[in-house]
């Protein structure tokens, strides 16, 4: 397992074909062929835009590319992304068909750090935030426990992109009725805190609950955060999140941050729309 958390990106963006598109309930998985790009590290992300007709949607947007965690990277240079249509950018990307093309730049940011020896990885995901956990599970293997939370059954279909996950849904339609953090508490209650390492990605309130929980128990946690991004490579200073060390550019120092660095995972301007 490589300990390096950042794969450098080729300079510029590249035009890549969509080789497959499929739906998992409320989500779309796009697969594209990135032959000119390197293998990303789990937790890294790419900036994506449709090569044609990017714009002219709701309010004449999108204009900027959109950030997406890599869901999975194959040895055949395929990159997979998991999308949920929440606005003009994700709507356009989700409508792309096989054979259409993407502008893609990346991989950007730093990914997950491997757990310290003796620590068992617990992967906690919510909603579309499960994406980076899939590639991380690919690397960690099946020792990693996976806990996923979704709004309802249509969203819970997304769980199919990971293996052997325990599920929670808000409406109880699949798995545990309640929050994925309920499952995390159960897991932690059955594990020696000194032997756990948490990796989480999901909506800000979930991440904040995970952060608080792990802080209380002294369990190390890494959180893959989101924030509004214009560039993805440190150019715009737009994606800062407040940390104990001041504002940091999430695209450069994250998107995976040690939970300890944060006073809160509730980042202004994200997930509150």
């Amino acid at each position: 397992m490589s300990a390096d958390r950042r794969t450098l990106a080729p300079f510029g963006r590249r035009r890549v074909p969509i080789v497959d598109r499929c739906e998992y309930g409320s989500y779309v998985v796009l697969r594209c062929l990135d032959e000119a790009g390197p293998a990303p590290r789990p937790g890294q992300f790419y900036m994506l835009a449709a090569a044609e007709a990017w714009g002219g949607g709701e309010g004449e947007r999108p204009f900027l590319p959109r950030a997406f965690s890599v869901l999975r990277a194959t040895p055949e240079s395929e990159l997979h992304f998991l999308l949920e249509a929440v606005g003009p950018g994700t709507k356009r990307l989700g409508a792309l068909a096989e054979g259409e093309e993407l502008w893609l730049a990346g991989p950007f940011g730093v990914g997950f750090a491997p757990p310290a020896e003796q620590r068992r990885p617990l992967l906690v995901g919510g909603g579309v935030g499960i994406a980076p956990l899939a590639i991380w599970q690919d690397e960690l293997g099946l020792d990693a426990t996976v806990l996923l939370g979704f709004r309802d059954a249509a969203h819970a279909e997304g769980a199919a992109v990971l293996a052997e996950a325990r599920l929670a849904t808000d409406d109880g339609s699949v798995g545990h009725r309640g929050l994925v953090t309920d499952l995390l508490i159960q897991e932690l209650d059955h594990t020696d805190d000194a032997r756990a390492a948490v990796y989480a990605c999901g909506p800000p309130p979930m991440l904040e609950a995970v952060r608080a929980l792990c802080a209380e128990r002294g369990v190390p946690a890494q959180l893959a955060l989101e924030s509004g991004m214009a560039c993805g490579y440190g150019a715009c200073f737009g994606c800062v999140v407040p940390t104990r060390a001041g504002y940091v550019r999430l695209c450069l120092e994250g998107p995976v941050l040690d939970a300890e660095l944060l006073e809160t995972a509730l980042i202004p301007g994200t997930g509150h729309g």
Binding site: R6, L8, A9, P10, F11, G12, R13, A49, G55, G59, E60, R61, P62, F63, L64, P65, W103, A105, F108, S227, G228, M229, A230, C231, G232, Y233, G234, A235, C236, F237, G238, C239, V240, V241, P242, G246, Y247, R249, L252, I267, P268, G269, T270, H272, G273
Partner: protein, 299 residues
């Protein structure tokens, strides 16, 4: 395509807009290939202030039709931090360095200019005058007298070229440019961002942490072109034109409106190597020939 700007020889006329490309960060993301394919003919660094600034609270970005609003708030390490940490790194770039500075009083600007006056790593200085002078309450770059007083104050401090970066939020940018020229500026650059605002979709309060921000990108292109043209018609010193440039054709427009250099800002967010593409496209336009034979070239 090489071009001379204030005595500096540049390989082509495309540079970056201050604050829209962080060469140090980009090297962390892209590695050293960035230096081999460096997209800009000169590098303009992000605005430096006397004191360190953390910048505005997030959210700092809002996407608009054909552009974005930013309220970054000029985060920077301050003069001492810049000199100690950034300048040595930026000096290693393969192109001339233009340092952009801003002060909240004339004396602050003077202090910044003096600090770079003799640094051989620095090819030129750009004065960002889009902020209010806290002493007079006037936006330095919106008022010809304020601008004249500022340039007059700092001109004697350095023999390096001084570029005044104008604000577009002014009744008559050309009058400000003329005042800068008369007071000894070597060049002007424009446009900086246009004041804009967005409301939070739910709370109805301003979305941006800084409440208002600056609009850039394709949306401002034609507004920028009008201002570049008005300024270039008014002054004899060179003009750096920018605002929404996305293609070689856009860059040609800015040059034909009278600019000597073109800066690329927001488009670098959409395409990190946009400036490479733009200078390539510009070159392939073969602009001399594009003119109809019966037309005398514009000066």
């Amino acid at each position: 395509m090489s071009v001379r700007f204030c005595g500096i020889e540049l390989a082509h006329p495309i540079i970056n807009g201050s604050g829209t490309f962080d060469a140090i960060a980009a090297r962390r993301a892209f590695g050293d290939t960035l230096l081999d394919e460096f997209p800009f003919a000169a590098f303009v660094s992000k605005t430096v202030t006397v004191e360190p600034r953390q910048g505005n609270p997030p959210p700092r970005l809002w996407e608009v039709a054909g552009g974005l609003i930013n309220s970054i708030g000029l985060p920077n390490k301050g003069l001492d931090g810049y000199l100690a940490q950034d300048l040595p790194e930026l000096a290693r770039l393969p192109v001339p360095l233009i340092v952009n500075v801003m002060g909240f009083t004339r004396e602050e600007v003077a202090r910044l200019v003096a600090a770079f006056a003799e640094r051989e790593e620095v090819a030129a200085l750009e004065l960002n005058v889009s902020c209010p002078n806290v002493e007079t309450g006037l936006i330095m770059g919106a008022d010809p007298r304020e601008t004249a007083a500022l340039v007059t104050r700092v001109r004697p401090l350095t023999t390096k070229p001084i570029v005044v970066k104008l604000t577009p939020n002014a009744t008559d940018p050309a009058a400000v440019a003329a005042a800068a020229e008369a007071s000894g500026a070597d060049a002007v650059s424009l446009i900086n961002t246009l004041r804009g605002m967005a409301l939070h979709p739910r709370t109805r309060e301003p979305w941006l942490g800084g409440r208002t921000g600056g609009v850039s990108g394709a949306a401002v292109r034609s507004i920028a072109l009008a201002q570049v043209s008005a300024v270039a018609n008014r002054v004899a010193i060179p003009v750096v034109g920018m605002g929404g440039v996305q293609s070689g054709g856009d860059a040609a427009d800015v040059l034909d409106a009278g600019a000597t250099l073109v800066a690329v800002g927001t488009e670098s967010f959409r395409d990190p190597a946009a400036a490479c593409r733009i200078s390539r496209e510009l070159e392939s336009l073969d602009r001399g020939q594009a003119r109809p034979p019966d037309e005398t070239p514009k000066q």
